[in-house]
């Protein structure tokens, strides 16, 4: 990349961060997020539409498909800002579906999905903690995020050596819903193939790539969240007094904070380098290694940082009224989405066995 290109890139990422402020104002309160918790469907459909209008759902699609043609770096920056504000609207699964529909030739509900008028979820997952897509036609599909608001499901189905894609209207096949710790839902779908329409013969190449991207974007969302929780904790350490002193002067706590800072820094470096690698065209094992490294780090660090933030707050950290707990709950839900730390560490070692000195 030339210096001019690099500048353009940085500018584009800065712009996307600024536009995120429309939805998640930096330092804004979390009242909207709180009010949506455990409500049906757990997010604001109006705001989801606004995200569509801003071009976020199709951020990664080429312009000829109705997208914004932006890179993984921009998508990660956007997710990070949304993570900071705990924005519950299901952008990550929607963007995944947009990529799958684009791979299917732009058929089916792609235009209305890009406009944010409907929520389309890809029902790929047949068991917990996996990135594999067996495509068993009648198998239940699990862990569909915000499924209570879904209008369409996309079903990958193995047909011979290919992974065909079907569309299933949610009205004809209603998922069962379970509530999650962050106030959202996860759905389970027992697919009724009689109601399904075929959209494409083979999405076998596109789907794993899109899942990898979703894993990386999830890592970025977690990064934004942990960084905000850590920032709140630093503010608290600077202000809370006990024993006649600001608690941030206690060396035991200073060292804890320094350790957390390093976790946040490693997570950011890992994600940004992975995004750069993908934008530079990494595919296959190179892509998998970059994504797995970042997601393994983000999953582990987000859980550790958020739980230590509770501890550093003392009693007030254990209340629902105080915001830091919301970040803990979000990490609990998202850390394992699109693969846990263990899964990604393992995958990293299979695709990148040697150390490059």
């Amino acid at each position: 990349m030339s210096a001019a290109e690099a500048d353009d890139r940085a500018e584009s990422i800065r712009m996307i961060r600024d536009s995120a402020a429309a939805v998640a104002p930096p330092g804004g309160d979390l009242k909207r997020v709180r009010d949506l918790r455990w409500q049906d469907p757990g997010y604001d459909a109006g705001l989801f539409r606004q995200m569509g209008e801003m071009g976020w759902i199709g951020l990664r699609l080429p312009e000829e498909m109705g997208g914004a043609g932006l890179g993984v770096g921009e998508m990660c920056a956007l997710a990070e800002e949304l993570g900071r504000g705990l924005v519950p609207e299901p952008l990550i699964p929607a963007a995944l579906s947009a990529q799958v529909l684009a791979a299917a030739g732009g058929k089916g509900p792609l235009p209305v999905l890009l406009a944010g008028e409907v929520l389309v979820l890809t029902a790929w997952q047949e068991r917990a903690d996996t990135l594999e897509v067996p495509g068993t036609s009648e198998a239940s599909r699990h862990f569909l995020p915000m499924a209570a608001g879904a209008d369409f499901f996309l079903l990958p189905v193995r047909e011979g050596g290919r992974l065909a894609l079907y569309e299933l209207p949610a009205a004809r096949c209603v998922p069962t819903i379970e509530r999650t710790q962050d106030g959202g839902t996860l759905g389970t779908l027992a697919p009724n193939m009689a109601e399904a329409t075929k959209l494409a013969d083979d999405v076998g190449e596109a789907l794993p790539a899109a899942l990898d991207e979703a894993a990386l974007v999830t890592a970025a969302y977690l990064l934004g969240g942990m960084e905000r929780a850590f920032g709140m904790t630093l503010d608290y350490l600077r202000q809370r007094q006990q024993f006649g002193k600001i608690i941030g002067t206690f060396q035991a706590l200073q060292h804890r904070a320094a350790d957390l800072k390093m976790q946040v820094a490693l997570t950011r470096a890992s994600i940004e380098s992975a995004a750069a690698a993908l934008d530079a065209g990494a595919t296959g094992d190179a892509r998998r290694a970059a994504v797995s490294r970042a997601k393994a780090r983000a999953a582990e660090a987000s859980l550790r940082v958020t739980r230590e933030c509770i501890q550093l707050h003392g009693g007030i950290g254990y209340t629902d009224e105080y915001d830091v707990g919301l970040y803990l709950r979000k990490a609990m839900v998202m850390a394992n989405q699109y693969g846990s730390a263990t899964l990604h560490r393992r995958r990293f070692m299979t695709v990148s066995p040697e150390v490059e000195a």
């Binding site: 917990a128 710790q181 035991a252 009693g315 803990l328």
Partner: protein, 389 residues
């Protein structure tokens, strides 16, 4: 089980340890309400009073109190056996601040009149107590408390705010640490006061905790008039009394049972997730399991000291740190292996007590209350290791 005869309460302390353990098991088997085993949350009075009253009727309510006050008069060692068996059986905590804290305090420091007035009502469940120590500005630094009691004729007038008052909404009495001398050194101006929660001027506001449960409260005092005779012990000596009570508490916070329970859940989850046989997981589990076994051994050495009639020193802080952090590590591991199930609100389908997220959240406050683990480490480094500073 049924073959074991349960002796009358007065005879329990004369059993040998093993007989006593068997009797406790038989007692729980015969008396403990099945539906209250291993509750996912701390129970409110409406839910646990059935058990409280059962304990009251059978005379088992107050294991540590002397017999002449209606207790079982059990030695510390037997109390530990009792606690172990309760935990093993999954017995829920009751609203036990009267039994565990206020009762012993009144027995040690109260007047005869206070003993007559308060102890029987704990035994009947008429008085349900809560603990008003912490304040917004006084947590780890409890001695900085500012809720003030000023003498006005025959009454103390109390003004201020307590917080994190566990189950204050269920209680009809509260025991307070209050400031009675503003000019003294901070530990020396604190007194111990008993307050009827029906007194005008008291407001209780429940706080929802991270378990999404209304378990603790803020408690406000606005010109609350408390009869002078409700002061326990000497004026301005409340701090020493409250501290004396804490030593014995810490060994309970160090009981390995909580971690034992969590380990058994972790195994069930690992089997369900198909990772139990996994070599990497086995190593991780073994680490946790060995820490549990070693904690049990360490805990045993403290119990032995109690059995020999010795008192426990500040090194008991080790138990609290190791146990609460082990409990957290086990629940962290559960979360990590559970995949997307980690984020669910409700227990996993098919295992009512496999509540991964719930247990993860429940494990958090144990390192905060009862003296945070940072404070316990300060105690270890200063009072046990005698490091300078």
């Amino acid at each position: 089980m049924d073959a074991i005869r349960i002796p009358p309460p007065a005879e329990l302390d004369s059993l040998d340890d093993e007989q006593f353990r068997q009797v406790v098991r038989a007692f729980l088997h015969a008396n403990y309400p099945e539906h209250l085993r291993n509750p996912p949350k701390r129970l409110h009075w409406v839910e646990n009073k059935e058990w409280y009253f059962r304990l009251a009727e059978t005379g088992w309510l107050c294991p540590g109190w002397p017999k002449e006050h209606g207790g079982l008069g059990l030695s510390p060692a037997k109390q530990i056996i009792l606690t172990e068996e309760y935990e093993r059986h999954g017995v829920a905590r009751t609203n036990d601040h009267g039994v565990v804290m206020l009762g012993p305090l009144v027995i040690n420091y109260g007047t005869e009149e206070q003993k007559r007035r308060f102890l029987p009502k704990i035994l009947t469940g008429e008085h349900i107590w809560c603990q008003g120590y912490s304040e917004p500005g006084a947590g780890s630094d409890l001695a900085a408390l500012r809720t003030e009691a000023v003498l006005d004729g025959d009454h103390y007038v109390v003004n201020g705010q307590k917080t994190w008052t566990t189950l204050a909404m269920d209680a009809n009495w509260i025991f307070l640490l209050v400031r009675t001398d503003r000019n003294a050194k901070k530990q020396e101006g604190i007194s111990f006061l008993l307050v009827d929660m029906k007194t005008p001027g008291i407001t209780v506001r429940p706080i929802i905790n991270l378990e999404m449960h209304d378990e603790f409260c803020e408690t406000f005092f606005d010109n609350v008039r408390v009869p002078k005779e409700n002061l326990v012990g000497q004026l301005n000596k409340g701090w020493d009394m409250a501290k004396a009570l804490l030593g014995f508490e810490r060994i309970f916070l160090g009981s390995p049972r909580q971690s034992g329970y969590a380990l058994s859940r972790l195994k069930i989850l690992a089997e369900r997730m198909g990772v139990w046989e996994d070599a990497e997981f086995q190593d991780r589990y073994a680490r946790l399991r060995l820490e549990f076994e070693d904690l049990k051994a360490l805990y045993g050495t403290f119990v032995d000291r109690l059995k020999r009639g010795q008192s426990l020193g500040p090194d008991v802080s080790m138990l609290k740190i190791i146990q609460t952090e082990l409990f957290q590590k086990i629940t962290d591991c559960m979360l990590e292996i559970a995949g997307e199930n980690a984020g669910l609100m409700e227990p996993m389908e098919g295992n009512r007590d496999l509540n991964i997220g719930g247990l993860y959240i429940q494990a958090r406050p144990a390192t905060i209350y009862g003296g945070s683990n940072e404070i316990q480490r300060n105690i270890l480094s200063k009072n046990v290791l005698e490091l300078p500073g």
